[in-house]
Assembly symmetry: C2
Homo-oligomer: 167 residues x 2
Amino acid sequence: MNYDEAKTKFVSTWGSLGTLWGINKAMAQIQALLFISIKPLCMEDIMEELKISRGNTSMNLRQLMDWGIVTKVIIPGERKEYFTTEKEVQELARVIAKERSRREIKPVVKVLKEVSSIADDGTEKTKELIKQTKALHDLTETADDMINKLVNQKQNWVTKSLLKLIK
Amino acid sequence: MNYDEAKTKFVSTWGSLGTLWGINKAMAQIQALLFISIKPLCMEDIMEELKISRGNTSMNLRQLMDWGIVTKVIIPGERKEYFTTEKEVQELARVIAKERSRREIKPVVKVLKEVSSIADDGTEKTKELIKQTKALHDLTETADDMINKLVNQKQNWVTKSLLKLIK
DNA sequence: TCAAACTTTCAATAATTATTGAAAGTTTGT
DNA sequence: ACAAACTTTCAATAATTATTGAAAGTTTGA
């Protein structure tokens, strides 16, 4: 496998993993492309490499910037804008996890709390609903906390030592 | 909020969370419904509660059974089939994480390993590709390992004490 | 072995989500 | 103030994914 093959393989695989953290293919691919690029890229570069339209590129770059993963770079003497991505995987993971938690997990935890707090009218079905949603609430909240805490540890040794602990 | 409101809210919220673990809405809703039901339900019950078609119900039940989350229950004297879901949240989380890892994370880890193992031809761009995909490989693999290990600990105290550790 | 009771399959359709491309908007140098 | 160089917006369209419903399949009891 040569450089170009490896690059294409990486970009498309990382793109398809997008769903795993709730972003679309193009967005994930743009990030992947920037992630392995040795210099900032402009819109043309990205459009050409990924064969996507200008509008698509613009919209997805915007979202990546909103997330704080991609930043605009101004190159003196150049009119057009260039882009780079966060190069530290640890930091990348932090941002993604944080965003995911905020957008998707937190609202669910909130609903679970509400539902598990309804008045116990004494019927078996209500008891079951309360019991099960409470269990789900605890699990979800704990998992969310853990992910956030883990991912906020910037030093990699924490992850490694934890992993050893639970082996 | 009374029982029926709470139930509807829970089922639809849990359904929309489906994307988070890579299953579709109907599948997540069926599971949610069974999760708070005090007795096994048949296809009619599910169709009626969720207002979905017979075909949809059948296909999604099948997939839930393939995942090992839902099991068929035979009620003596009854012709039709009944279904229940795993009621332990811990076990539920285990199955979901395992499935997700197998279907989505493992293949990506494999590709990252391949890509990061290409020959270093000495160019800067190749070095960068290798370096970055290697970092991603390590992170992804570590995260995957952690999730699997954590989720395999059936006792809840492990999670709790770990959480304390990293607070 | 038949028919009633039930489940599965799958082509057609609907719903959702991503992408395009061209017009409108913005910025910059002269 | 203008025009060139660039970016953004968004309605239209395409691609993808989920859902339906009816026909085919299966099981069971008499």
